[in-house]
């Protein structure tokens, strides 16, 4: 009874605290600019099923895809056992039952066996993940100025917790199995791994009972603590990947957004009879402060780009295929996304563990004197990074959860050009060429058709003419 009450309190506290954290994150995301992403439910559902649930884009790289699949499937299947743990914890002691799902019979056997094998595979995969990150040298995409200190530690903490949870699961099952064997009882379920481990545990019933309870409590408490660690961590992607894919763009990747307020201005310039629609007003009818063109800070970005930032697990696929980054430029698409999250949490709600990135020399940051006054642009992302982008969409294509770093880059370029006139000089020359000559180069518009002069073709009957 006492255990049940304790467990109930723990459960309520864990889910309550998690909900509170999620609400803070939701508020952070909603500071972003409005963007209508409603509609197309069927297409969005299909995309979410393929990309998020089905991990379609992970399979561009086989080794990490298979390792990740093990951990992902392990997470999904072992959580079925967590349901049982919760039911056992709440009602098992009161009504005197143990392992609530055993009524499933043969299905329960398969479920438990699958769980154990998956748990063992998860440990193997996690060790491989750890090695890829911590060997010397680590995989290239796990390096870079944005992946030092906290992000590096966060990645390892996640791996340690995952191993701890699996070990606790084995402790629980093995102790339970041995306890039943000593009592000459039959434990429902099949436990292929625990069967191998029973010899390692002492033969004392009391000790075994404690070990079983300890394994049970550590496993479930660990899961609940992990749940509440997620909002501080890159591991939050296990939840956010789903809404992020759902709300990702459905248009061709080459299509950039048109700025509507500019459309109205241009229309008014070209057609004097065009009536510019009135600027939006606050609910009480008062005028709103004019919104800048492009993005200087996180609240200038569309909310979907802020959602992106919470869905990023910092895997670095984007940066590893970025042509600018590959050739030694400062730009790293992953850094832009991580900076966006850091900045949101700096300016608005912070998570439990908040350690914004501190960059080394190699990031060439301008010195930031006042953290609270620093904006995303310049405070975290330097113009040098933004101007190195070729808009090639390699980062967008590579992201397994459909994050779009390119959109954020373009929004910040817009601010630099339209609000600060701070484009590199050569680009200003290109702009004035387009304005004056209708071409980005300094050619005379009257020469535009010269290519057609003295144009000859060899006489040859066309295929259609022959036919």
């Amino acid at each position: 009874m006492l255990q049940s009450i304790l467990f109930l309190l723990l459960l309520v506290a864990a889910f309550g605290f998690f909900t509170w954290q999620v609400r803070k994150i939701r508020a952070n995301i909603l500071v972003g600019r409005e963007r209508d992403m409603s509609g197309n439910a069927a297409e969005r559902f299909q995309k979410t099923l393929l990309v998020a649930f089905g991990q379609q884009k992970m399979f561009k790289r086989m080794t990490p895809a298979l390792l990740h699949l093990v951990v992902y499937v392990g997470f999904l299947v072992i959580n079925i056992e967590v349901i049982e743990i919760v039911v056992d914890g709440l009602f098992g002691n009161i009504f005197g039952f143990h392992r609530a799902l055993k009524f499933l019979g043969p299905v329960y056997d398969v479920l438990m066996a699958t769980n154990e094998i998956l748990a063992a595979l998860v440990i193997v995969a996690v060790v491989a993940f750890w090695w890829r990150r911590n060997s010397n040298p680590p995989l290239k995409r796990f390096t870079g100025p944005e992946l030092r200190l906290w992000p590096k530690m966060d990645a390892n903490i996640i791996l340690y917790i995952e191993v701890a949870l699996m070990v606790a699961l084995f402790f629980m099952n093995t102790a339970d199995l041995k306890l039943h064997q000593l009592r000459g009882e039959d434990l429902p379920g099949t436990f292929p791994i625990s069967n191998l481990l029973v010899g390692l545990l002492p033969g004392n019933e009391g000790t075994l009972h404690v070990l079983e309870r300890l394994g049970w409590w550590i496993h479930i408490t660990g899961i609940l603590l992990f749940l509440n660690y997620l909002p501080s961590s890159k591991h939050f992607h296990i939840i956010m990947a789903f809404p992020n894919v759902w709300y990702s763009r459905l248009v061709p990747q080459g299509q950039f957004s048109n700025v509507e307020s500019i459309t109205n201005e241009v229309k008014a310039m070209m057609d004097p009879s065009f009536v510019v629609p009135p600027a939006p007003t606050a609910p009480d009818g008062s005028a709103l402060a004019p919104t800048p063109f492009g993005a200087k800070d996180v609240d200038d970005l569309p909310w979907t780009n802020l959602l992106n930032a919470y869905s990023c697990t910092e895997c670095g696929r984007c940066t590893s295929v970025c042509p600018a980054n590959l050739t030694g430029k400062l730009l790293s698409p992953r850094k832009i996304i991580m900076d966006t999250r850091d900045r949101m949490e700096e300016k608005y709600n912070s998570p439990l563990i908040f350690r914004p990135n501190v960059y080394g020399e190699e990031a060439k940051h301008e010195p930031i004197t006042d953290m609270m006054e620093a904006t995303l642009l310049r405070g975290k992302v330097t113009p040098e990074e933004l101007w190195a982008c070729t808009t090639c969409n390699a980062c967008v294509e590579s992201c397994p959860v459909n994050i779009n770093p390119l959109e954020s880059i373009i929004e910040m370029r817009r601010f630099l050009v339209l609000e600060e006139s701070a484009a590199p000089n050569s680009l200003n020359v290109m702009f004035s060429n387009i304005e004056n000559n209708g071409a980005p180069w300094a050619f005379s518009p009257s020469d535009r058709f010269n290519w057609a002069d003295d144009l000859f073709a060899a006489e040859k009957p066309s295929v259609t003419a022959v036919a």
Binding site: V251, P252, G254, S320, V321, T327, A394, E459
Partner: protein, 298 residues
């Protein structure tokens, strides 16, 4: 380069304003683009494509002096205002002539007109010339015979970002090249994994930011290694996890890097020069290869 043509005829490229004056409308409008109109190298692509249009007897027209930059480089550089000014101006011209179908040899013009003009009032069927050439070959209107033979020559195709990842067109250019009966070899980074030439996003008009290497050099090295059959030496390039290709070395003489974009053309040509391979390796656009194979150059 092509066998001596028995006779040659002069082409008078039809201009839209003249057609409209005669109350005629073309089947397609050929959008030349600024590079196609002004860049000396890409003008040859424009002329090759016009030869093909004439050869198959398509009723086409160009805007001539009425064409203006689509605004793509301005938009990618963040100058949304200038982009929309250009877009509205072009849309006014195109709509004024009642244009329905546009073909262009520039993936940047293609992407902008196809994807970004509709929201500003410009709705057209837009086709990139690689798709158009593929259709001509499939329909048998172009036989890719009678001219230069590409049989057995090693060709690698460099994907343009604005054709590939931006608009998911990967097969059309490859189908066109396959019709040449050449020895097609793929770079490790191809199709959706293709590496940018380095010129997109308005990089064409500015110096690159400080770094270790120019992007076009990185890409040209990959193309040359692939053509030489030594691509496995570059397996670690870019951190892309790939398997090694079959070993074997080929003489680069006569090899071709095929492109489908004016900016890729510039970047890859510069790269080949930088690597001092221009006497062996040539960079050609799809339209040039088709016109050569068809024997309609003069």
């Amino acid at each position: 380069m092509t066998p001596e043509a028995p006779t040659k005829k002069q082409i008078n490229v039809p201009v839209m304003a003249d057609l409209a004056a005669r109350n005629e409308s073309p089947e397609i409008l050929f959008w030349v683009g600024c590079a196609g109109a002004f860049d000396d190298r890409y003008k040859r692509v424009t002329r090759a494509f016009v030869r093909i249009l004439e050869h198959v007897g398509t009723k086409y027209a160009v805007l001539g002096l009425e064409e203006s930059c689509t605004g793509d480089p301005a938009k990618r550089a963040g100058n949304e205002f200038l982009f929309q000014m250009q877009a509205m101006q072009n849309i006014t011209t195109l709509n004024g002539y009642g244009i329905k179908k546009i073909v262009t040899a520039c993936p940047h013009c293609f992407n902008t007109i196809k994807n970004e003009y509709p929201a500003l009032g410009g709705d057209y069927e837009v086709i990139h010339h690689s798709t158009y050439l593929q259709q001509l070959i499939n329909e048998g209107k172009v036989g890719v015979t009678g001219g230069e033979s590409f049989k057995g020559r090693r060709i690698t195709f460099h994907d343009s970002c604005y054709l590939g990842r931006a608009n998911n067109i990967y097969e059309a250019p490859r189908d066109v090249l396959a019709a040449l009966d050449a020895d097609l070899v793929e770079m490790k980074r191809s199709r959706a994994n293709g590496l940018c030439c380095g010129a997109g996003g308005a990089q064409m008009w500015k110096e690159a930011e400080p770094g270790k290497k120019e992007i076009n050099i990185e890409r040209t090295e990959e193309a040359l290694a692939t053509l030489a059959g030594k691509a496995e030496a570059l397996a670690n390039l870019g951190g892309v996890e790939t398997e090694t290709s079959a070993p074997g070395a080929h003489d680069l003489q006569g090899s071709i890097i095929a492109v489908s974009c004016p900016f890729c053309m510039t970047m890859m040509s510069d790269g080949v020069k930088n690597k001092e391979q221009e006497s062996k390796v040539q960079v050609f656009d799809l339209a040039e290869l088709v016109a050569s194979a068809e024997g309609i150059n003069a």
